[in-house]
């Protein structure tokens, strides 16, 4: 039965994709994907490859991270201000295994992400008693503990102190290959997150977000599902964290555990719009683009100031982020073009 269902689905896939590509969102997504595939080949210039393409790679890593935050906060309603925990733990674990235990990159990468899941469990379980703003500050407190432990000079023999670990190998020596590895992982993770959100599991998470007592009364084991949400979100944040450590080539406490990292996730996801997973990708690209241009015009000291103003304005005036309004405008234009 299941096999039959699966076969049906596979045989219908080309038709499904064909009809999906004709819809507005499908067409737009396909167009964006094609643009991304051709992007690294636009110019053979070394500067373009090593600066511009790498900025896009970074934006994709941040997209994964912001999407993981959105999965936890937007979809399941558990506000986390300490997402840097998972990001940093995975990065550190990955870096430690590569530099000190000579693990192959991919093994270290997977162990790093699984380490983040483990932390998601041990931090998620105590924090699950908390709700709303309590949870936000509880997770913030956890991330500050880790940041301070890793910064502490007297514990440098365990946690490497404020220097961190440096000299990590790249994911791939060629920036184009690096770009495609991360691009494919990003697409895969986004598809997985979309499927999770659509599935029964995602519906339960949304039910918990909207009315926890109601979900409890309907026989949902809310604690267990919240723990699952924490672990899933930690997994994706951990993948992003390992990628980031390999991308930068080094890990250090403030770069991987700082509250700034959690702030990035919050900023990017709310910029694109909470609960729209793809919004976090838009937010991440916007964020990286803005940061890059601000640095180029010599405003590097004002980057965070400008970002915090943007966060305040977005949260205050555009609660649903900028993705949906932009998409609606585009769709109107599309309809006009097609003469509908």
């Amino acid at each position: 039965m299941i096999k039959q269902n699966f076969k049906n689905k596979v045989s219908e896939l080309p038709n499904y994709i064909k009809s999906w590509a004709k819809t507005f969102t499908g067409g737009l997504t396909l167009f964006t994907l094609i643009a991304f595939i051709f992007l690294p080949f636009l110019s053979p210039n070394q500067n373009f490859l090593y600066v511009f393409v790498r900025q896009f790679t970074l934006a994709m890593i941040y997209s994964i991270f912001a999407a993981s935050w959105d999965l936890l906060t937007g979809i399941s309603g558990q506000i986390s201000f300490g997402h840097s925990i998972f990001f940093g733990i995975a990065g550190y674990l990955c870096a430690y295994l590569i530099s000190y235990q000579n693990f192959p990159i991919w093994v270290a990468f997977i162990i790093g992400a699984l380490g983040a899941v483990f932390f998601g469990l041990i931090i998620g379980v105590p924090c699950l008693r908390l709700k709303g703003p309590y949870l936000a500050l509880g997770t913030l407190a956890f991330s500050l503990i880790l940041l301070k432990l890793f910064l502490m000079g007297s514990l440098a023999f365990i946690f490497f102190g404020s220097e961190g670990i440096s000299g990590l190998p790249r994911i791939a020596p060629n920036p184009i290959i690096e770009y495609f590895i991360i691009f494919i992982s990003m697409i895969a993770i986004f598809i997985i997150i979309f499927q999770i959100v659509k599935s029964k599991f995602g519906t339960i998470l949304k039910a918990i977000r909207d009315d926890e007592m109601g979900a409890d009364a309907s026989g949902v084991n809310t604690t267990r599902y919240k723990a699952y949400a924490f672990m899933l979100s930690a997994l994706f944040a951990g993948i992003a964290g390992s990628f980031y450590a390999l991308y930068i080539g080094a890990v250090n406490p403030s770069g991987n555990f700082g509250s700034v990292i959690s702030f990035f996730a919050i900023l990017m996801a709310s910029l694109g719009g909470l609960t729209t997973i793809s919004g976090s990708a838009l937010g991440a690209f916007f964020f990286i683009f803005l940061e890059y241009s601000l640095i180029q015009i010599g405003f590097e000291n004002y980057v965070f100031l400008i970002f915090s103003i943007i966060l305040i304005i977005v949260v205050r005036f555009a609660e649903h982020g900028i993705l949906r309004p932009v998409l609606e405008r585009l769709k109107d234009m599309w309809d006009i073009l097609l003469g509908r």
């Binding site: 906060t73 309603g77 506000i79 201000f81 105590p126 924090c127 008693r129 908390l130 709700k131 709303g132 703003p133 309590y134 936000a136 500050l137 509880g138 913030l140 407190a141 956890f142 500050l144 503990i145 301070k148 432990l149 502490m152 000079g153 007297s154 509250s259 702030f263 919050i266 709310s270 909470l274 000291n301 004002y302 965070f304 100031l305 915090s308 103003i309 966060l311 305040i312 949260v315 205050r316 609660e319």
Partner: protein, 295 residues
């Protein structure tokens, strides 16, 4: 040994007194409006920097009392503006309030960072009294002794204000049942506005009394005081005023105990508030004096 014990007791009382000033307002705001104001630590930090900046202006030479009045007034107004412009429109969504006050705190931190950098500064000219006395070989700075006394006076008068005056009674009414209070003709939003202003004022007073004796340790300071006051409030119970006073002194004594008696103490002492938060959240999330329900 005696010196160490005196050191621990004195520093604990001092930390407790400062924390009491900061967390009283923080707890009050949460109790009245259910608002978690993450910009509260930033008020404390900003007060220190405002004092620093204004003292360096030649216009205010010799007018330090004016500087203090202007700064405290500014912080109070800033608290009011935070409520009117940022918190009030988003009151119904917890996520929104937390995000926007987080954004504000970050904004203030970055603003200060751009103007003053990360160095430490000191403003000893604002001490109310100078000098120090020695007790059993431990040197106590007079400013701190005065701070403890003033802080106790403020806390007591605050308790009187809450229990006796009309505004205090309305604040209590709103915190017990906002809807019923509104039906009795109390303007809930205005009470909340006053509460946020009072809390910002108290944080400012704490900074004005404490920072001239200590030093201004860079703009990151705000987060540390935010986590400390959160620890206090979690320990004492959200919205409970007695709880936050008792909690302040407990946290203060634990911190000073750690920094005096534990090897590598001062670096562990930073972790104490956070560990207190985690332990309390695990054992008794409603706090020592809190109501049963945790929201």
């Amino acid at each position: 040994m005696v010196t160490d014990i005196i050191n621990m007791l004195f520093n604990g009382t001092l930390q407790g007194a400062v924390l009491a000033l900061i967390s009283l307002g923080y707890s009050l705001v949460y109790g009245v409006g259910g608002i978690m104001n993450l910009a509260h630590g930033a008020y404390f930090m900003l007060t220190g920097y405002l004092l620093l900046w204004m003292l360096s202006w030649p216009i205010f030479a010799g007018l330090s009392w004016l500087v203090v009045i202007i700064t405290l007034g500014f912080i109070t107004i800033l608290g009011g503006l935070t409520y009117i412009l940022l918190i009030k429109p988003l009151q119904d969504t917890h996520v929104g309030v937390v995000l926007i006050t987080f954004g504000l705190a970050f904004f203030i931190e970055q603003l200060v960072l751009i103007i003053s950098g990360t160095e430490s500064w000191s403003i000893p000219q604002l001490r109310l009294i100078t000098g120090s006395i020695e007790v059993f070989g431990y040197t106590m700075i007079n400013q701190y002794i005065l701070l403890i006394i003033i802080s106790l006076i403020i806390v007591l008068s605050f308790a009187l204000f809450i229990s006796k005056t009309k505004l205090g009674k309305s604040i209590r009414a709103v915190s017990q049942d906002r809807e019923a209070a509104t039906l009795m003709g109390i303007n809930g939003n205005r009470i909340l506005l006053y509460t946020v202003m009072i809390s910002a004022f108290l944080a400012g007073v704490g900074a004005y009394l404490y920072l001239p004796g200590a030093s201004i340790n860079g703009p990151h300071m705000g987060w540390e005081y935010l986590t400390s006051s959160f620890a206090v409030v979690i320990l004492g119970g959200m919205g409970s005023l007695i709880g936050s006073i008792v909690g302040s002194f407990i946290v203060g004594y634990i911190t000073s105990f750690t920094s005096v008696f534990i090897p590598n103490g001062p670096s562990w002492a930073h972790l104490v508030p956070i560990i207190v938060i985690v332990i309390m959240l695990l054992i008794r999330p409603q706090g020592l004096f809190g109501k049963e329900e945790v929201r």
